[in-house]
Amino acid sequence: MTNQQAFETIYREYYSKVFRLCAGYASGRDDWAKESAQDVFIPVWNKLDTLKDKQALAAWIYRIAFNTCMKRLKATKHQPTLPEQLPEIAYSPEESAEANEMIKKVHRALDHMKADEKNLVLLMLEGLENKDISEILGISRTHLRVKMHRTRQKLKTLLEDERL
């Protein structure tokens, strides 16, 4: 498989995941997430040759995505705000409306979280393994387990808050 073919496969497979992660940092803002996702896949293409362990592809892409979003957020003067439109969710219309409302609520909850908690929630929602999360965030696995527990609790409390 050529590099270009490999990239095309990766791009197709990971675009939604990267987009979701970026959208999570931007309160679900579509245009910001789109630009960020583009910024993520540029280094993915440029650095594809340097990836030695193909098994570590997912963690590698998330690391790039996380670093890109952090960098972009720090360079952005105005923080993104919650939009009306969210990415499509494949459900029936009723379920879809309910699901979209829940996703919006998650975005609002994320807005009420500290940066490190937000990072953790987004990586947990993507279903990454603990070893990958600890490596991406640069914290020990023991520390991560404690943080995960606290952050889940905080997310639960926020999502149960009627005012959110």
Partner: protein, 186 residues
């Protein structure tokens, strides 16, 4: 709240189609890489050509002559600047976005601080040295060059130094403003 696993499933069900094709993105990546390399290299190239011209003049200048001293100061200023620009370029190239987040942010912070130093202290020192080097040569110019050419150089200096400094300061200010914003938030 639903169970976290349900929430996870819901979250992961959000699917988005890429607005750009992979080919377009590859083209964009290639373009950006070339642009970034060209931008850095062109600055270094201009400085290198200028110093090479000055070195060529310096070689043919008589020993222990004010022009030779002036040129030495100017060449030194340019060489210091070139070396630091090359170092900054290498540091920029060594920043690895695929690295662990903490390490990546340390690398970025260190690079931004280096750029800030380059744009402030180092730029000021090199510009002052460059002007000083030129000033050392002025008395010799007065003695050896035709009067009109001598006054042409003086007029050029009177207009050129403030104008050049204005553009240099403006460029430095813009870069520092952007760097400051990023450093503060790191």
């Amino acid at each position: 709240m639903k169970d976290f696993n349900d929430l996870q499933a819901l979250w992961q069900n959000q699917n988005t189609t890429p607005s750009d094709s992979a080919e377009k993105l590859i083209g964009l990546a290639r373009n950006q890489k070339t642009k970034s390399i060209r931008k850095h290299r062109s600055g270094i190239l201009v400085l290198s050509i200028t110093s090479l011209i000055l070195i060529a003049i310096w070689v043919f200048t008589p020993f222990a002559n004010p022009v030779g001293y002036g040129l030495t100061v100017m060449i030194s200023a340019l060489i210091i600047r070139i070396l630091l620009e090359v170092y900054s370029y290498q540091r920029m190239k060594s920043i690895d976005i695929t690295d662990v987040s903490t390490k990546y942010h340390q690398q970025i912070k260190a690079y931004y601080k280096l750029r800030k130093q380059l744009m402030t202290t180092i730029t000021a020192i090199t510009v002052v040295l460059y002007i000083l080097g030129f000033m050392i040569m002025i008395p010799t110019f007065k003695q050896t060059l035709p009067t009109w050419f001598y006054w042409y150089i003086i007029a050029f200096l009177i207009v050129g130094i403030p104008l050049g400094s204005y553009f240099l300061i403006r460029q430095a200010r813009n870069e520092i403003r952007d760097l400051k914003r990023v450093i503060e938030k790191l």
